[in-house]
Amino acid sequence: MRYLLTSLLFFLASCASYQQRNNFEKQEVLDVEITNPYFSDTSKDYVYKAKIDFYDKSFGGLFIVKKIAEAHHRVVFTTEMGAKIFDFSFHNDEFKVNYVLDEMNKKILLNILEKDFRVLVHENEKVISKAVKKGSELFETEIVNKKYYYLLNGGSLNKITRVNNGKEKVQFLFSKIGDASAKNIQILHKNIKLTINLKSIN
């Protein structure tokens, strides 16, 4: 009986939404958009010192983002000495590989990077639901059929989480925020050993 009760509770808990499980209270939303402002200025060159840890390998370099036009970004990674590792374009839902080093030209890896960087540069998306908790707001949205939650504290975007079946898959953490830019950005994967650390240098 106790076992049954426990499994029932467990079942109910896993049915609860990501928002409820994090003790957020749902609110009504009507036609609202959520905005990620961190790569939204076409006049800025966004340059970060990057560290990518992928399983037992570690790569350093420069991570460069440029907003070319509305819904159009260029994302480039070079070594410190300037050699290009990859060069991607995001234009609306399109993804184009302008260049990738042969050693990195693996479909599975490119898919992961495409998904991660698309979220990073994606600016506006329709909100599906909203929940609140003491000064924090959690917005549910979808980017190319994947579910994401945007966490805003005191009005500024601190975290984006990709959630699948109620489980956190990838976290995007934004800190040292000011002037519509995030000086520190971390992308943490929960199901593969991939971490991307970005520190602004300009």
Binding site: S43, K44, D45, V47, K49, K51, S58, G60, L62, I64, K66, I68, R74, V76, T78, E80, M81, G82, A83, K84, D87, N98, Y99, I201, N202
Partner: protein, 195 residues
């Protein structure tokens, strides 16, 4: 843009031969080099080049330390087919012996520091004058190399010292390195190249 204002003229064969001899003899008597550098990474879509700066140390025959100081601290030492990296205190190394291509690219980088790349089996070479400065364009013949670097443009002063290196990618984006305070044959301890 500056080079567009100062017109470049092609050297005569005699001038080219003279420059080549001068650079080769200068390189032959160079045991050490220390220099400051400013690196400009040009990507066509950016509003401004990415500027980083630091120090270079070279010791004959093939020890190079490339050290960035601004806006981050990072150094890489080229030594015996290895790259020794110190990334803000975090040390790592990369062995290049398994990759012939990376060994070749590395050798080119080391040679370009001295400017002595006058190997006509490896490059199509053309010579230009730009006022008192000589500029030599080295275009790799080997397709495996030219996939990474379309051309090296190296500028020499009247003494035959390298004052600027520009590495141009197939996309025409480039990395330009400008040297200053270059000193030759000052004693340089091996400790400089210790990891």
């Amino acid at each position: 843009m500056v080079s567009a204002i100062h017109a470049q003229t092609k050297m005569t064969d005699a001038e080219a031969l003279l420059l080549k001899e001068k650079v080769k003899s200068q390189a032959a008597k160079t045991n050490t080099i220390t220099s400051n550098f400013v690196q400009y990474k040009h990507l066509d879509f950016l509003s401004n080049d990415i500027v980083t700066s630091g120090n270079l140390a070279f010791k004959n025959p093939d020890l190079v330390k490339w050290e960035y100081v601004k806006p981050f601290v990072y150094s890489v030492i080229f030594k015996n087919e290895n790259l020794y990296i110190n990334d803000e205190g975090k040390k790592s190394d990369v062995n290049l012996s398994s990759s012939k291509l990376f060994k070749q690219l590395n050798k080119l980088l080391v040679n370009s520091v001295k400017g002595d790349m006058f190997d006509e089996k490896e490059f199509d070479i053309s010579y230009f004058n730009q006022e008192a400065i000589s500029e030599v364009h080295f275009t790799p013949i080997n397709k495996k190399i030219s996939k990474y670097i379309k051309a090296f443009h190296i500028q020499f002063n009247t003494q035959g010292d390298v004052i600027e290196i520009k590495m141009i990618e197939p996309s025409d984006d480039y990395t330009r390195i400008v040297f200053s305070n270059r000193t030759i044959n000052n004693p340089l301890s091996d400790a400089v190249f210790a990891h």
